[in-house]
């Protein structure tokens, strides 16, 4: 019997047994967290909206405030992960701690239904960060603009859904390697942008912008024209600084669009868990989150130095008012690439930076697959939903449940300009799911005292107060603040009637599915209420 002693004076002896794995590499976890809080695909996409919507708010300050608050979410989720560490995530935590029905509704809405809306958002990001700049650089402004048309957006959404579907079908093994290379490649691309913005001055940027704007789009004196157009539209810019606090705080719910996801892919395996596991899980997510913050701040400071803060905001405001300069989304990396007057270089830079997208797109439906399979195994969905074809190893029915509604919603997204403004609905619904996980972590010591006592997370205290539930309280405060802002402030475009109906319909659908399953299974003699009922110990 091969055994292993842990510690200089042994405190634990392990014998040879299945599943005694070592902790995974924290670097991998950091990469996932950075890709999930993707400052390129989500961050700068969001700034196009956030800057013009809240012109008096300070973006950098709001990002730092958001990240500090999301750090508490990281602590809360680290606690959940090391206490109930399997890969089921919110579904498992909520069903175990809060109850089956609530757990299903929150998981189905937050990790399945709302991903139907994320699909066209991903698609639109692919359109504006790859196809539009590529076609523009190829010298086809009309082609570039086509990708912003209704049909263009729809086609790219379908391409995105197809890519995500293929990745689900092929599994993560190959994609995980690709994702890592995308991360490193994306960092190289970003480093090139940093160097370009660092070594060039403002005058050089203005000159390049005017030159390439004329060459590619036929716009004369484009830099001044942009500022003039924004001014004519009534947009006033404010210089970069640290205040005022009110509008800056109003930016926090908008920043959640990219900064709320460091916990997206966190898992933990292994049965001999200790304090080091908590630290490892926390370090991965926390470091990933703050790397994103640092990259974002570097980018924004360089924009202020070389591009011009007012100009950047003016560019975004024109897009916000649906009159984008050059007729395409103002991709700042495209304009940074213009500092080198070489089309081949510009194309390569766009392609390299698109790795931020391709390393991220694979996560679109992975969580949905897990929820669908878990719900099918719990007999809430028909057994067929978890079927995988023997020949091709493709989860055909779960793919249908993900891809078809996503394609339908992509059509609505593409062909309705108002629906496109409900982008933050996608964040809101997941935030509600997070809210209930945060509630779960707060009540965990009371609801499952034995589980909590056995968890490494219960060891960590500050002034006698366990930090994980306390972090859950701060997370609840953050998410409630976000929800109040989203529902009360028109500028986020989520509190109008159609948007509320859209989101409400998802919750109604989840409730209908669950209640129907309870009734149907009851008729079959199966009591779904038994699933999480605890067997008495004594």
């Amino acid at each position: 019997m091969a055994t292993e002693s842990i510690g200089e004076t042994p405190t634990l002896f392990l014998r040879k047994a299945t599943g005694l794995v070592r902790g995974w590499n924290v670097r991998d976890s950091i990469i996932y967290a950075v890709m999930a809080t993707n400052f390129v695909t989500l961050g700068i996409y969001e700034f196009t909206f956030a800057g013009p919507a809240f012109p008096k708010g300070q973006i950098i300050t709001s990002i730092v405030i958001s990240a500090i608050l999301v750090s508490f979410l990281v602590v809360a989720y680290s606690g959940l992960i090391v206490t109930i560490p399997r890969a089921g995530g919110d579904y498992v935590w909520q069903t175990r701690i809060l109850g089956s029905g609530l757990g299903f509704v929150m998981a189905a809405t937050g990790w399945w239904f709302i991903l139907w809306l994320w699909a066209p958002i991903y698609g639109n990001i692919l359109s504006v960060q790859l196809f539009q700049p590529l076609w523009a650089t190829f010298g086809s402004p009309g082609g570039a603009a086509w990708f912003g048309t209704k049909t263009g957006v729809f086609v790219v959404c379908l391409i995105t859904i197809a890519i995500a579907g293929v990745i689900v079908s092929l599994g993560m093994a190959g994609y995980a390697k690709l994702q890592k290379w995308c991360f490193y490649g994306g960092l190289v691309g970003f480093a090139v942008v940093v160097i370009l913005l660092l070594v060039n001055n403002h005058a050089a940027f203005v000159s390049s912008f005017n030159l390439e704007g004329q060459k590619l789009f036929g716009v004369h004196n484009a830099y001044a024209a942009t500022n003039a157009a924004a001014k004519k539209a009534g947009y006033s810019t404010y210089s970069m600084g640290f205040g005022p606090l009110g509008p800056t705080l109003a930016l926090v719910p908008a920043m959640m669009f990219f900064i709320l996801w460091p916990n997206w892919g966190s898992t933990l395996y292994g049965e001999i868990r200790g304090a080091s596991d908590f630290k490892r899980v926390f370090t991965g997510m926390f470091t990933g989150l703050w790397i994103t913050v640092i990259l974002t701040i570097i980018f924004l400071l360089l924009v202020a130095k070389t591009v011009g803060w007012d100009f950047y905001q003016n560019l975004n405001s024109l897009d916000y008012n649906l009159t984008p300069q050059f007729g395409i989304w103002p991709y700042p990396f495209l304009f940074a690439g213009w500092l080198v007057h070489n089309s081949v270089f510009q194309v390569i830079l766009i392609l390299v930076l698109s790795l931020w997208f391709f390393g991220w797109v694979g996560t679109l439906f992975l969580s949905s697959t897990r929820v669908i399979f878990a719900a099918a195994f719990d007999r809430v969905l028909p057994d067929r939903a978890a079927e995988v074809s023997e020949k091709r190893k493709v989860p055909l029915y779960s793919l249908i449940l993900m891809l078809l509604p996503a394609a339908g919603l992509s059509a609505v997204y593409a062909y309705s300009t108002t629906f496109r403004t409900y982008t933050l609905d996608a964040t809101l619904v997941i935030a509600v799911t997070y809210l209930f996980s945060a509630i779960a972590v707060v009540v965990l010591p009371w609801r499952k005292p034995d589980l909590w006592a056995a968890s490494p997370a219960s060891r960590f205290k500050f002034l006698g107060v366990p930090i994980v539930p306390a972090a859950g309280v701060v997370t609840i405060a953050l998410l409630v603040f976000d929800l109040v802002e989203w529902f009360s402030n028109d500028l986020y475009f989520v509190n109008n009637k159609d948007s509320l109906i859209f989101m409400g319909a998802m919750y109604v659908l989840a409730i209908i599915v669950y209640v129907t399953a309870r009734i149907v299974r009851q008729r079959q003699g199966i009591d779904l209420g038994m699933i999480n009922k605890e067997i008495p110990v004594e």
Binding site: T11, F13, G525, I531
Partner: protein, 312 residues
């Protein structure tokens, strides 16, 4: 007939207690524990003059009363670990001599199993509620005699048992793992072991395979992909099938009505393999939750009429 099937409790005393109560809780006629009964880790509790010292999950405790000691012992047992009372000298010896650790592990495992069987005797009314156990790849062979001699449980390892007209075939052996555990055999040998019992089944339409290893490539056998140092690859995000091809082939060839498995804790799920319903209820024994499957069989139609995976 209603069966409750659970597996892989790995020494967790709270899960064992729940298992003993599961027949009453789920109104089952029969309970089956599908292997890997024994724990994987041992926690030394050092006896000093006037106090005991123990480190649990990285936190060192100085215990000064018997009540404190009992509480921590219960906590260790509920986690699936074995508490081992040692003197400082014994601890030093264990630290220096792996063979001494092996011996102590065996002693603790067997004494724990004895205690568990005493508990079972009361709960199962001396065998009135049928309770079937078999080994798993992580179980040392010494447990076989202990289980075999128990009057309140049936040890099913490598046997064909008749359950009111249904045939239960049990096999705790698995295909090889990176940990080189006790009941492992290459696929060809495993296939022979399975066949030697399966060929005795009178009617496969009424057969239940209780094989610890799940069938390969069915989704019931997905474990984190590991590198050569047993570290999960890509942050644990990549899973790979690690089940047995011999088990898969046996199921597909014989088409029993039901096939229950364990071994891969992360792979809770259900798979229809032609006529056979294959189930792995998974295991989260470390959380003190007894995952299992409640399965109703229709004796007349010889089919599974209902099933539900539960987290008891």
């Amino acid at each position: 007939m209603r069966i409750f099937f659970a597996t892989d409790i790995h020494g967790s005393e709270v899960c064992w207690r729940k298992f003993l109560n599961s027949a009453a809780f789920y109104k089952a006629d029969l309970v089956v524990l599908g292997g890997d009964v024994t724990g994987k880790a041992m926690v030394p509790i050092t006896e000093h003059t006037g106090y005991w010292q123990v480190t649990v999950r990285g936190e060192t405790h100085r215990l000064e009363t018997r009540e404190e000691l009992d509480a921590i012992v219960a906590r260790i047992r509920n986690s699936g670990f074995y508490p081992a009372m040692v003197s400082p000298d014994e601890l030093a010896e264990l630290g220096a001599d792996p063979a001494a650790v092996d011996r102590r592990f065996s002693t603790e495992m067997l004494s724990s199993l004895d205690r568990w069987l005493d508990m079972a005797d009361g709960k199962l009314r001396g065998g009135e509620v049928p309770c079937i156990l078999n080994g798993g790849n992580d179980d040392i062979f010494e447990i076989d005699d202990v289980l075999e001699s128990s009057p309140c449980v049936s040890f099913a390892e490598g046997k064909l048992l008749d359950l009111d007209g249904f045939s239960l075939v049990s096999m705790g052996w698995t295909n090889p793992t990176p940990w080189d555990t006790y009941r492992e055999a290459p696929e060809e040998q495993l296939a022979e072991k399975i066949e030697s019992v399966a060929r005795q089944v009178p009617d496969m339409g009424r057969a239940i395979f209780n094989f610890h290893a799940p069938p390969y490539g069915t989704g019931l056998d997905e474990a984190p992909a590991l590198d050569e140092t047993l570290r999960p690859l890509h942050g644990g995000a990549v899973m790979k099938p690690v089940g047995s091809t011999a088990v898969r082939d046996a199921i597909l060839r014989h088409q029993p009505m039901l096939s229950v498995h364990g071994h891969i804790h992360e792979s809770r799920g259900i798979k229809k393999m032609n006529r056979t319903l294959a189930i792995n209820p998974g295991s989260v024994y470390g959380d003190g939750v007894l995952q299992g499957a409640v399965i109703d069989l229709d004796a007349r139609k010889a089919k599974v009429t209902r099933y539900l995976l539960v987290n008891g």
